[in-house]
């Protein structure tokens, strides 16, 4: 099959179908409603089920149930909706269950606005819900990559029995780009028969729980989870580098939509004789700390470019351990900076006018 021109939201929905997702629960919110629209038609075609719930709280708890029953299930939402799901995400993680949650981030805080933002970086990577847990978080920069990461998300969720978050934004959701589904790897099928709660006829019952009143087993559970996160950090780090061949003095760190804008800015700077590199984390958790350090060490300075007030920069600082100056440029409120803004910012750092 040839390439298809698809909106990011529709492409993500189709990717989930191809990954074998059978249940989709959601509550409407802009800018991701095309996912539900698409799946209301597509899910029945593959014998799956789309249920529009009465709230995001209902969505996440229904996902909890589907995941416990061993079904590939997922939801999509946007910032305020993810806030409402945070409690459930903590529970799903505590129960070691696989699920996928897509956040088409919009401007915040509060009701904010419906335009693109990266203001949920911390919410997705550092918690949201309570307790010692992490989502695995993947951040696409194009519609094709959104499809690839969506399919990967289901595999990672099953492999590690941990929820996976996709952090994109309204722009990725709304824009159309060519998508090639043919080249994608087939989803992996994981044997879940030793833990799912799908009826205990003729076997011992399985128990899925998150309550540990006795601190000793409570700590053991947390230690097992910590070991899982060490494995994830070791195996699942993903990133892209751009224009590092000429040893640029400045390296921009950016993810998702804004990383593309930075690439255009870097190309423009090149025509002016200014070499700037790009480090784009694709996995936001696990964050590629070591890899960024290796790249950043060779530069004189770094610039974190974000559609937020400065959140990614915390991880850039952690990676660099104070070894290089780290600058920041960000826009908020739903504004996507144009390439020339980033060009100007880089020129300032080079003292070129």
């Amino acid at each position: 099959m040839a390439k298809l021109l698809m909106k990011g939201n529709e492409a993500i929905a189709e990717a989930a179908i191809r990954a074998g997702a059978k249940h989709y629960f959601a509550y409407p919110i802009t800018p991701q409603n095309e996912v539900s629209e698409y799946l209301s038609r597509r899910m029945p075609e593959v014998g799956g089920c789309f249920l529009q719930m009465e709230s995001e709280v209902a969505v996440i708890n229904t996902l909890f149930g589907a995941a416990a029953a061993g079904i590939r299930a997922f939801t999509t939402s946007s910032s305020p909706g993810i806030s409402l799901m945070s409690e459930g995400l903590s529970y799903i993680t505590a129960a070691n269950l696989p699920t996928v949650v897509v956040n088409m981030c919009r401007a915040g805080p509060g009701l904010g606005g419906i335009l693109p933002s990266q203001g949920d970086y911390r919410q997705m990577t550092k918690g949201g819900g309570h307790g010692d847990y992490h989502l695995i978080v993947l951040a696409p920069a194009s519609v094709q990559e959104a499809v690839e990461l969506m399919m990967l998300a289901f595999d990672l969720a099953d492999k590690y029995r941990n929820p996976v978050g996709i952090l994109a934004d309204g722009l990725i959701g709304q824009m159309m780009e060519p998508v090639d589904f043919d080249a994608l790897p087939k989803p992996t099928v994981y044997d879940k028969s030793d833990w799912i709660t799908d009826g205990a006829k003729n076997r011992e019952p399985h128990l899925i729980r998150t309550l540990f009143l006795d601190p000793v087993p409570g700590e053991i559970e947390n230690r097992k989870r910590a070991e899982k996160y060490r494995q994830i950090e070791k195996n699942e780090t993903r990133y892209e580098i751009y224009n590092l061949e000429n040893h640029p003095k400045l390296v921009i760190v950016a993810f998702g939509t804004i990383a593309r804008v930075c690439k255009t800015a870097i190309d423009e700077l090149k025509t002016m004789g200014i070499e700037v590199g790009l480090f784009r984390p694709i996995s936001l958790y696990p964050f590629p700390y070591t890899e960024l350090m290796q790249v950043g060490e060779k530069a004189q300075m770094l610039l974190s470019v974000e559609m937020s007030n400065g959140q990614l920069i915390d991880d850039v600082k952690m990676a660099m351990q104070g070894k290089k100056p780290i600058h920041f440029y960000g826009r908020q409120g739903g504004i996507v900076p144009a390439p020339d803004e980033i060009v100007e910012e880089a020129k300032k750092l080079f003292n070129v006018s």
Binding site: L5, P31, I114, G170, L171, M175, R260, A338, P339
Partner: protein, 190 residues
């Protein structure tokens, strides 16, 4: 090759579709392409628009604040976007509905009476197709044949719309490149 164009008009004029067909055609020709709709609060302001970027290299920023080219189907769109254009671009104006000009002398303004042409073809809803044909005819950014295939794919479940829309696209392409226009356009390459 790198081309960016903003299609703008009011809701119901088929702005999104015109842009999508151009993007589909470019994709079929193996080019890189991005199509971005207006979906924010600007949707409520009376203008609907979409941006299409076509390139032979991977497309970086999908955000275009100052479009190189615009196709404007109503007056508010001309008033809003013509001042933002980069110099030397094409401003295709639907002169059926827009009595004013851009007032700029550093762009190539093509006046095409899209609604009148569509009415004359007995297909009054196809003003967007006339404009699309006009833009493709002027820039040759994709072949008319590719646009026609895109139309066939788009309307594969509503076959009766295929031929009238293709006729409107061809007419637009033909009219936009009259001798008078060609003189104005000479020397400008996208």
């Amino acid at each position: 090759m790198y081309l960016e164009v903003k299609f703008a008009g009011f809701g119901g004029q088929g702005i999104m579709l015109a842009g999508k067909l151009l993007a589909e055609a470019a994709m079929m020709e193996g080019k890189q392409v991005v199509w971005i709709p207006s979906y924010g609060p600007e949707m409520r302001g009376g203008t609907a628009y979409c941006t299409v970027v076509i390139a032979t290299k991977p497309i970086g920023s999908p955000i275009i604040n100052n479009p190189a080219n615009i196709v404007v189907m109503n007056r508010p769109s001309l008033e809003k976007f013509a001042p933002m254009m980069k110099p030397n671009g094409i401003c295709l104006v639907n002169s059926s509905l827009i009595p004013i000009t851009s007032g700029r002398n550093d762009i190539i303004e093509i006046r095409l009476p899209c609604n009148d042409v569509a009415i004359a073809l007995n297909n009054p809803k196809a003003a967007n197709m006339v404009a699309l044909g006009g833009f493709v005819g002027l820039t040759q950014c994709v072949s008319i044949q590719s646009v026609e295939i895109a139309v066939k794919n788009e309307f594969h479940t509503k076959a009766k719309f295929i031929e009238p829309n293709i006729a409107a696209i061809r007419k637009g392409a033909e009219l936009a490149v009259t001798d008078e226009v060609r003189v104005k356009y000479e020397g400008v390459k996208v």
